[in-house]
Assembly symmetry: C2
Homo-oligomer: 388 residues x 2
């Protein structure tokens, strides 16, 4: 399936190009491609440029091979998409969801939505050939089972893949941590296209990181790489729910910003924050902080700067260590405006070494809230071909 | 050259095994192997186990193909070795060296030593086929040129590879950062054999890190990955020579330990340290601190614990991020005894997440001061085959 992998990564290729990329003979590739075309995996899609002789026929993945579903489960919502085998999204859905509900219940709701999307395209459950799912918790990747997930304890050990297979008998399921699939989405169709190594940082209720090495998700030796939310920013800081002092996410993520805003409003430090608190019945979020800051509320600005500085300080250390080409920032808190990004950039560049930031790009995710579904689709496509 | 790569990594292999590993036909491998044997790159070294039929002939790299030199330049010393193409060290040298001297002068001394070793084995300069060199500073790997090296400013931009080629016309030279080659040494013949991903941390005058991903050196997008010495451990700490406050190496490496020991001795806090200071004419090193601590000096113990805790704190963050299988610690300060290692371990395990430390091994380097030369040899062998 190496020929398919090359086509997937590089787009339409000639047989000669595939032979060169795989360092094998043209004759051998012709035979492999013949088999893959018989299986309807590859298809000819026109002609490439001539090298002097006849223009070569180009091969691409057969978009009509079947359907792929991508599912991105968040703490309070679920995003879904139905796609073809080239990763083109055919239909997109979003819904509220509560991950604290029993897994079979939420998964049934999701499966029903996937079935509906299939039906819309004249297909039924049997036509789904791959399903990729991102979940907000630590995943044992080979089995697709959640391990001690703090946000969704009822899912611990639940056989998600078996459950999906029962409904979609021809679909190969794959389950991964939500941040990993977002990073893969960014790598496949977002700002990370063509970059060998970068991070995707999700800042929301928690802070997590997806790491791309050589264009692939890096999972580490136990599958939990990227757990940056519990890196210490203050050894004398408040005690996080994990039991340690001064964890980054406990001090800088969405809930910390909201709580600081609530206190500032109560203490009369932020007039716009106080107004927002009143308008929203005592419930503030990081987005309210962003709006107040944009409107000139000093207390709100200070909250954003504090979070940005802490996050940038940790990123600076990771940049020194890992020397990535780019950092993309996503998650709910990335919607609070440009000042937050700007503070993160400044803090990262101030503390990281000059060498490691020479060509470093720090930006919000290009895909926004679509990163997860795109990544889930691509993970499912990769998984289908890797094991086919 | 993929067949050679497999043999180098896995030891003697049969043609069938090579065909399976490369996912290609037995016939194609037989033809490739025939060519490599004619070129004297591969040689038959006996028979493997039978699978039922005839016992297969095993192929290994031809140790007699030529000579490889490995050079590890430290701030105050140089380690060299002459090896064969299987990485077996034939001869080993060490000498004092000062990297502040002009590059051509030091390199000439090194080249003379390499020539002497070749002569000892009945060979001359023309028989050297590869030379790998580690240098204590940031290297632009493709060109092998040092970029703003703080310890050896006179080497900035010096064409090391050209200089080596002038002396050894048949040797393919390769130059890398010293910590990278130590990590590669550990991966090739040390504690990292068979581990997909680990760090090698060198603690000496500075603190640096070599990162292994999938068994290879990870260099990052600008070639400066692993620069952990300037990760911040205290935003209110003293100003490092890099201009930032509270850098790890400025607060925890050898010179910081020696300076704390000197102060403790002067202030009458450590009797054994005071005695050492007197015995050594006012010059203490981290090794003196280790000896005083082992003999029960409380001030010395405190110095070791402070450094260990700071280093472990930073490692904990990197473990959360990267989830390595192991961390190996080398460099001069790793010679100060077990208490230092023990403190680093405790601090790392206390702060890192439970998931990421499930199977984490933290140990001193298995190769000690030989890690660099072994790595330089393996880098040279890889480099010779990759481009041959």
């Amino acid at each position: 399936m190496k020929a398919v992998g090359q086509v997937r990564k590089r787009g339409p290729l000639s047989r000669t190009a595939i032979a060169e990329l795989l360092d094998t003979s043209r004759a051998s590739v012709t035979s492999i491609v013949g088999n893959l075309m018989e299986m309807n995996v590859l298809t000819e899609v026109g002609h490439g440029k001539s090298d002097g002789g006849r223009r070569p026929r180009l091969l691409d993945i057969n978009a009509g091979l079947g359907f792929i579903a991508g599912v991105d489960i968040g703490a309070t919502s679920v995003d879904l998409a139905l796609a073809d085998f080239r990763g083109e999204i055919l239909e997109r859905r979003s819904d509220v969801a509560d991950v604290r509900t029993a897994p079979d219940q939420l998964l049934n709701t999701i499966n029903d939505m996937v079935s509906e999307m299939l039906n819309q395209h004249g297909a039924d459950d049997s036509h789904l050939l791959g399903i990729g799912m991102g979940v907000p918790g630590p995943v044992h990747f080979p089995t697709g089972v959640l391990i001690r997930p703090p946000l969704m304890p009822a899912w611990e050990g639940f056989p998600i893949k078996d459950f999906l297979r029962d409904r979609f008998p021809n679909a190969r399921p794959v389950v991964d941590n939500d941040v990993n699939i977002m990073a893969l989405g960014e790598a496949s169709v977002g700002g990370g296209v063509g970059l060998d190594n970068f991070f995707y940082i999700k800042i929301g209720t928690g802070i997590g990181c997806g790491i791309i090495v050589d264009g692939e998700i890096y999972r580490g030796s136990d599958g939990c790489a990227g757990d940056v939310g519990h890196i210490c920013v203050d050894y004398n800081g408040p005690i996080c729910h994990c039991g340690n002092a001064g964890c980054l996410e406990f001090m800088a993520a969405g809930p910390a910003m909201a709580e600081k805003a609530r206190l500032a409003a109560k203490n009369g430090e932020g007039k716009l924050l106080a107004k927002a608190l009143k308008d929203k019945d005592g419930q503030l979020t990081s987005v309210d902080v962003g709006e107040a800051a944009a409107a000139g509320d000093q207390a709100a600005n200070k909250i954003i700067e504090e979070s940005g500085r802490m996050i940038g300080g940790v990123l600076a250390g990771l940049v020194n260590f890992y020397n990535p080409k780019a950092i993309f920032i996503g998650g709910g808190v990335s919607n609070i405006g440009h000042q937050f990004l700007s503070t993160i950039r400044q803090a990262t560049l101030r503390r990281a070494t000059a060498l490691s930031t020479r060509s470093l790009q720090i930006d919000y995710s290009k895909l926004g809230s679509d990163a997860g579904v795109h990544g889930a689709i691509w993970l499912a496509i990769e998984n289908t071909f890797a094991l086919a």
